[in-house]
Amino acid sequence: MRNLREYVRPATADDAVSAKQAHGTRAAYLAGGSDLLVHRPPHLEVMIDIRHCGLNDVRSEDGHIVIGGAALLRDAEAAVTSVAAGMLADAFRDTAPWLIRNAATVSGNIANASPAADAVPALIALDAVAVLAGGDVDMAPVGEIPAGPHRTNLGDALITAIRIPTKPRRGSFVKLARSHSDIALVNLAMSFVPDGGRMRDVRVALGAVAPVAVRAGAAEAVLEGQEPTDDIIAEAARAVNDDIRPISDWRASEAYRRRMSGVLLGRAVHRARQRTETE
């Protein structure tokens, strides 16, 4: 950030977008700073602080929870405890330590486009949609925003909100990492609509096993309409191998990530099932 020369504090999302469009890639939207002020990109000349644009709230609205584009992880976590049996709150809590959750935003976790972002698979597994200002489209599924490691399809667009349907689902978020809020070796979120003992409308999404978080279509197909028996879980754990493209890096090898993806799938289904039974 040695070239940073300007800080702007727009009062509306439209003003924020105008500032971004005026400066293009030389400018960045800034909220919690937990990624931008760590990486401190040297080319940045303008910081656009989006914390004063009226985007900080989390509210319920016509069957959705609407997380403002500058809402803190801490506030979002508190507002989603009933969504999918706590699955989303677990993902928000595991995203970062408490000090960081007091500053960082849900939208920032998406826009930073880390392949290991914890909030992203959880939002994908709940059919969450991002509301955009200044983009080619007004809405986009959260899963379509990351384009690759730390690259997005946002251009100059600003995420003004994330809308999560509150239809009754069950689910769970599980993560393999050195500690709760460390960067994931693998993370996995799943959700479904309970139908007697069966799982309907199953969603499974994983992070840190491909350049962007992925929906696990093969594993979903195995689980769809089934009761979560040990045989079905084992079959889904094998199928998830077809859904992922992990790499080896200093955190974990490709082979380990593959094996752990199946293990996490089993844990996630077990946890979701336990929660369904105890309610």
């Binding site: 950030m1 040695r2 940073l4 020369r5 300007e6 800080y7 504090r9 800034l30 919690g32 700073g33 937990s34 002020l37 760590v38 401190r40 910081m47 602080d49 914390r51 803190l72 801490r74 970062a96 330590p97 408490w98 000090l99 960081i100 007091n102 500053a103 500690s179 709760h180 809020s181």
Partner: protein, 157 residues
């Protein structure tokens, strides 16, 4: 750039560079309780309370704090004496080299405002963002728990 902040109840007007962090601005103006260590939001040694929430000051631009109320570890003490968390850290031997302690104390003091009766597990979760290389976490966690029980005792007096 000119900014105005209130630090520990004192109004300050500072001239800061656009890329300057809140941590650097605080330390340059004499508030050295917040420590500069990792400069990447990993270790919590620079924790300060900004507008009611404890954050890592190393990953907040000073200009972002224009108009904010800031409390550093120096501001936790009142006319009645040290903050209960400070008292408890001292009484429980939770301090060794001490470098991470201001951040731990600020973090715990702010957390207790939101959760006045935490479990040990709650405190351990909160301290994930506060790294200590000497004592570990047993004594600091015990100190926070002790500060809570002492506060309860005081209320009964």
């Amino acid at each position: 750039m000119k900014i105005a902040v209130t630090v520990n109840g004192t109004r300050e007007e500072w001239d800061v560079a656009p890329a300057e962090t809140l941590l650097d601005a605080l330390r340059d103006h004499g508030y050295r309780g917040a420590k500069r260590v990792c400069e990447s939001g990993e270790c919590g040694a620079c924790a300060v309370i900004v507008d009611g929430l404890a954050i890592d000051a190393c990953i907040r631009l000073a200009v972002q704090s224009d108009g904010s109320q800031i409390t550093t570890v120096e501001g936790l003490e009142t006319a009645d004496g040290l903050h209960p968390v400070q008292e408890a850290f001292t009484a429980n031997g939770a301090i060794q080299c001490g470098f991470c302690i201001p951040g731990m104390v600020v973090t715990a003091a702010n957390y207790l405002e939101m959760n006045p009766q935490p479990t040990e597990d709650d405190i351990r979760h909160v301290f994930i963002g506060n790294l200590c290389r000497c004592t570990g976490y047993k004594k600091p966690v015990e100190a926070v728990l002790a500060s809570v029980s002492e506060e309860v005792g005081r209320r009964e007096d």
